[in-house]
Amino acid sequence: MTDSGATVALVLVSHSRELAEGAAHVAGQMAPGVRVVPAGGTDDGGLGTSFDRVDGALRSATEGGGSAVVLADLGSAVLTTESVLELADPGTAERVRIADAPFVEGAVAAAVTAHGGADLAAVLAAAEAAAGTFGARGTRPEASAREVGAAAADATAAAGATAAAGPGTSGGREPDGSVRATAVLRNPLGLHARPAALIVRMLAPYDAKVQVDGVNAASVLELMKLGAVKDDVLTLTAQGPQAAEAVARLVSEVEGGFGEV
């Protein structure tokens, strides 16, 4: 959490009013309660950036002592924001960071991370890790539901623990102490933005580090990068005091189709 207790806010600076508002809408949908302030277009509604509009947005985003991460679309949006910060009072400027990130993807990553109560540095880092969001399809080994049983059996044998057979498994232990389980994606669009965000938000309260197919389950964009589709088998691993609970919850969420089936 930030010092003020509020979540980190976002300011989206764009050459286009519609683009800033649209991106704010998309990011906000995945992170209800996070303040996302659009600042796009010139004062007369044309394309370009407005010093006054950005200045107003930053004031609004940081009022009450809060912090903010700025996403900017093209170069001069960064320049305008830097100029605003140069002329702003030092207390405000200290609490603002401009992310070097793609506009939409960075906004989404930052919003979801802020929603989890992260501090300014973590929200900034999430935005900046958003570059190169979508990996090439087909780099993940495909697996169908039929192969789940075999995979589950292997995991059980390797872990030396008994586990329920069937589509999803949970509770197996890896040699390093990680909890391991598999789950089958049920929902038609697979692990797209909405379920990825749900996973991140759902896992946030658990005292555990969780991975899905080896990627960090606390990162919306890492999850989406998997390109996992319906019927894919996901391998879930977790470490930490609540690893087992987190994995069990995740299995049921995945198997439940995230409420989409």
Binding site: L47, G75, L79
Partner: protein, 216 residues
């Protein structure tokens, strides 16, 4: 003869006249390798500066005061990169004192260049306004080293900016919106370099006028 606030005000008025007169040219240059709004932005910005000057109860007392008025006005009225870039340039130039001798003129130009480079992070050869300002500063330094008076220093700076802007034509842009065009940006004069040339010519013109008909 040192340059004072009256010279700075005249510089601003001449700059406004120049960017308004060359508005279409700047739009066209920017249309070819940018988003086509540079001429409109500069005209709007300098018109706003002149309007603020005209609205003052008392004329500005120092060169620095004029620079600051230009800076803050341009920052909030010029869209695109030119607003923050020129705004920062004039903001740094506002450190100039009440009146400028030859060294003072050099310091003002160096500060302006430092502002552009700090804000835009471009270096020479990237096809930007830096390619007009850097040679202008170099020429100003050389002139001052040879004992030239302020008006001569500015005339040298204006020539440096002119040559520098012309030199941008074959360059491939590696900064700014034009950099998205890559090789296609070659063969065009950079609009920011052109407007810089106009503004520095205005500074020299104002200084020459201040010298008056008795100047040698």
């Amino acid at each position: 003869m040192s340059l004072d606030a009256a010279w700075a005000v005249d510089w601003v008025r001449r700059s406004e006249a120049a960017v308004v007169e060359h508005r279409d040219e700047l739009v066209e240059l920017d249309r070819q390798i940018g988003d086509g709004d540079h001429g409109e932005n500069m005209a709007r910005g300098f018109r706003a500066v002149v309007a603020r000057l005209d609205a003052l109860d008392t004329p500005p007392a120092t060169v620095g005061d004029v620079m600051r008025l230009v800076a803050t006005t341009l920052m909030s009225t010029v869209g695109g990169a030119a607003g923050p870039l020129y705004g920062t340039a004039f903001l740094r130039a506002a450190k100039a004192g009440a009146e400028l001798d030859a060294d003072g003129v050099v310091a003002l130009l160096e500060a302006a260049l430092e502002g552009v480079v700090t804000r835009g992070k471009a270096s020479v050869g990237e096809k930007t306004m830096v390619d007009a300002w850097a040679p202008a500063v170099a020429a100003a330094v050389a002139a001052a080293d040879h004992g030239a008076p302020p008006s001569e220093v500015l005339a040298a700076a204006a020539r440096g900016a002119h040559d520098g802007a012309a030199a941008t034509v074959p360059m491939v842009a590696t900064k700014g919106r034009a950099s998205y065009l890559g090789e296609r940006s070659a063969g065009h004069l950079d609009p920011g370099a052109r407007s810089s040339e106009l503004i520095l010519a205005a500074a020299a013109g104002a200084a020459a006028a201040a010298d008056g008909p008795t100047a040698g």
